[in-house]
Chain length 255, copies 2
């Protein structure tokens, strides 16, 4: 039996990025798409608990079963795992190709990476792919080239001690990419500058806007890799324990 590959994203089922990822995934296995019916960027690990979910079959990808879901990217993975494939093992989950980088702390906000994280938490090896270009007209040639190699390697050899990878591809032509770097997540955060305005009734409102503060001088992090035309791969984990800080707060046990 061919491997079963679940494909999802956060830009929505109609985004070019997921169509490109489906094309690659089809080369390796039985592909099933479960993706949001609308854009769900920056939804993080949000799940839908106050509302019901819809899951409808759609015919959008040649020869591939596909479903659009009314919920978040993480909802899509849960429906794939626990409704569509209760009785069949999913061999790999791939998420993306995201329109825009998910390097550094963007992994935390990203619906694309959170969907991949959810699959990993459920025991499915999982890879998120992102291209450092927000445009709907982005050229995915280089990303497809590396996605093909990484998926082939993961299906054939596994993913070492990792079960979740965050892959980001620089926005340059394939021939300018120097190769792959295994990285740690760069240190950084969003310094927000809210746009403030008034509505027609004179009431204030705010739009989130910001600039990313890159705080990392290292050459072993994902933003450095992208700036230097490497594909970055960060192995990601969902044990959020700050293990090395445990001893430093043991004093709280005497409270």
């Amino acid at each position: 039996m061919r491997p079963l590959i679940l494909v999802t994203n956060d830009d929505g089922i109609a985004a070019p990025g997921i169509a490109n990822l489906v094309e690659v995934a089809k080369e390796f296995g039985d592909v099933v798409v479960v993706a949001p019916d609308s854009p769900q960027s920056a939804q993080g690990h949000s799940i839908t608990i106050e509302n019901h979910l819809r899951l409808y079959a759609v015919d959008m990808f040649d020869g591939v079963d596909a479903y659009e879901c009314s919920g978040t990217p993480v909802d899509c993975v849960k429906l794939g795992k626990f409704v569509l494939f209760k009785d069949r093992k999913i061999d790999l989950c791939v998420s993306g190709i995201n329109h825009g980088s998910n390097a550094s702390t963007n992994v935390i906000y990203s619906g694309t990476m959170s969907a991949a994280t959810e699959a990993a938490m459920e025991g499915v090896n999982s890879i998120g792919f992102s291209l450092e270009n927000f445009s709907m007209d982005a050229d995915f040639t280089a990303t497809k080239h590396y996605a093909r190699k990484i998926i082939a390697h993961a299906l054939e050899h596994g993913m070492g001690d990792a079960n979740l990878l965050n892959v980001n591809v620089p926005n340059v032509p394939l021939e300018e990419i120097k190769g792959v770097k295994i990285c740690r997540q760069a240190k950084g955060f969003w310094a927000e500058e809210f746009l403030e305005a008034k509505d027609p009734q004179g009431r204030p409102y705010y739009w989130l806007t910001g600039r990313f503060e890159y705080l990392d001088k290292g050459e072993d992090n994902d933003i450095w890799a992208l700036k230097n035309n490497y594909v970055s791969i960060v192995p990601v984990m969902y044990d959020l324990t700050h293990h090395s800080a445990i001893d430093s707060i043991k004093g709280l046990e005497t409270l």
Copy 2:
């Protein structure tokens, strides 16, 4: 000047949990509340980018400035930091008291903990408090007792090498609590069992429902602590790199 303490949550500004946390925080500093105007449980690190945000002053807490926000818990923290307090340092962020446990991998779904994480990413020491009881009528006496001690300690002595704590309190009377345990995040995941039904038009819909699978045999994790009537404190980090897996996937650099 008294310390400035930002209070938020994910159950919404009208939830009893946040009123209880405000009462404790007021003992230690100038308190400002920025909390969602509606329940936002399980919103994870979601932020609002497709819509504007509202932020309105409300008079709900005696002698405390408070604002309700139309967005997610993380939006609340961003508005607090970058709109309300552009020019004043926030000394501590406290989030909660959450109605329900955020132990184990629930930290990843939790809006309460994601708000605390956002504050930590922006350089503010931050603590999320949760009580292992979902009821709106829960008794917060024990949680307030420990929140008071933990906040006092954090303001006076800092938080060691940590800047973000996940505090969970067992649902038992104060006198049955045996003390505090510094823990790691327990291993576990939600095995979902979607409720499937049909709407009046005969179309299927799904409701997320599940049971938590606790996969951890250790006695140093937060679920063990709660089951044994200890308050659990897990130091949390937002570097998601699986550092110990980096060497095991170095082979991908030759792709």
